[in-house]
Amino acid sequence: MKFVDEYRDPAAARDILRHITQLAEGNHYKFMEVCGGHTHTIYKHGIENVLPETVELVHGPGCPVCVIPMGRVDDAIAVAETPGVIFTSFGDMMRVPGGNGNLLEAKARGADVRMVYSPLDALRIAVANPDKQVVFFAVGFETTAPSTAVTVMKAMQKGVTNFSLFCNHVTIVPPLKAILDSPDLRLNGFLGPGHVSTVIGNRPYRFVPEKYGLPLVTAGFEPLDILQAILMLLRQIDEGRCEVENQYTRAVPEHGNLKALEILNEVFELRPHFEWRGLGFISQSALKLREKYAPWDAELRFSVPGVRVADPKACQCGEVLKGVIKPWECKVFGTACTPETPIGTCMVSSEGACAAYYNYGRFTKHQTVPVELTRSKTPEPV
């Protein structure tokens, strides 16, 4: 590891923390980290424990598996159980519970459900099985949606007609607006997501300062990145500025990946509305195939129930995704709901906030892990 040391330098961390403490003194600031990857860094390195009490971090909706509502999982199972269908999915999504079990259970009942790494693998399965209908369960933010778009364009170019898409791609900006419009939470700024921003760039976040008067700093995943981004937020507030800043210039180009954005726009259009787990229906927050690509739309090809299913009463993923409660405040966290037997999506995906807390042994507010800014093994859950 010849490079990482500079991002874990304890002296640099102490220096940034001293500035954070000075700038935050006498106030209470609540910042949301949008991305599940940031949540991991924060708990892995005990950043919450070294921040002054005047700075609080809350977790956001940035986990693409976590925001898929139960009704869509039931729809996926209905398509998967249609005779003659090979249903393909990323591994994470196969464990997400719907109202009627999950895709792994559907597979055990006899449905042909296959895990794929890439949408291109699903297309290859379609080419190899011309007598079957191959459906790809497309999920994810703008990090994965361009890959799906390229795959659909290839299906059209190569005339692969037995391939279709059950599309659940969502976009990152609308849920941020929904959270800002919600009365549940008063925020002072955002740590902008890392890898989504490599695709969309920083421009789409400008509404945060312009309409809501809050700063946003796109952040990298190292502990020092997170601390520096927090300091950049506090400096903006201190200096009376309010803008979108990029702490993660190493990977995030200001304008994003223009080719990926062009292809997204070629293949997809916004749905009028889409249900998000815990956040409810958000208008223009998800993608569907454009008319030109309608022959590859599984929702037009198959009978999809489209029934809305309420989340289990005990599950509080919605409040976790909105940053209203911490995972340990959920009644079933770590007891009925664990990564082995998840009730809610935030525990299923390794990018989810509950899985992050659980894996780092964070079962209560006061339980702490040692603060360390050098590499070490993940503590075992207690």
Binding site: F3, D121, S147, F221, E222, I263
Partner: protein
């Protein structure tokens, strides 16, 4: 999935079809490089990229690649799942 995993391009298989081989922490697999070919300098053997679901999405430098790989390794199951999926053949 939403977190990209860094890999190094070790072979360009078919430029017209945007096919290349990437090495992620010693594991090799075909990836699609069509979304980064228009970047400054194009895409060539030796370049480092962030890979999401089999597609190179962003060119990064070697230092950022090492830092990101180290970060993902620390996530434990995230890394294990990603490498398992990355190395898996399509179940044809």
């Amino acid at each position: 999935m939403c977190l990209g995993i860094p890999g190094q391009i070790v072979e360009i298989l078919d430029p017209a079809e945007h096919r290349a081989t990437a090495d992620v922490d010693g594991v090799r697999r075909e990836v699609n490089v069509g979304l980064v070919m228009g970047d400054a300098g194009g895409i060539k053997v030796g370049d480092w990229v962030l890979i999401h679901v089999g597609f190179a999405m962003t060119k990064i430098d070697e230092e950022e690649a090492a830092s990101t790989l180290d970060f993902i390794k620390q996530l434990g199951s995230v890394y294990d799942d990603e490498i398992r999926d990355f190395s898996a053949e399509a179940p044809l």
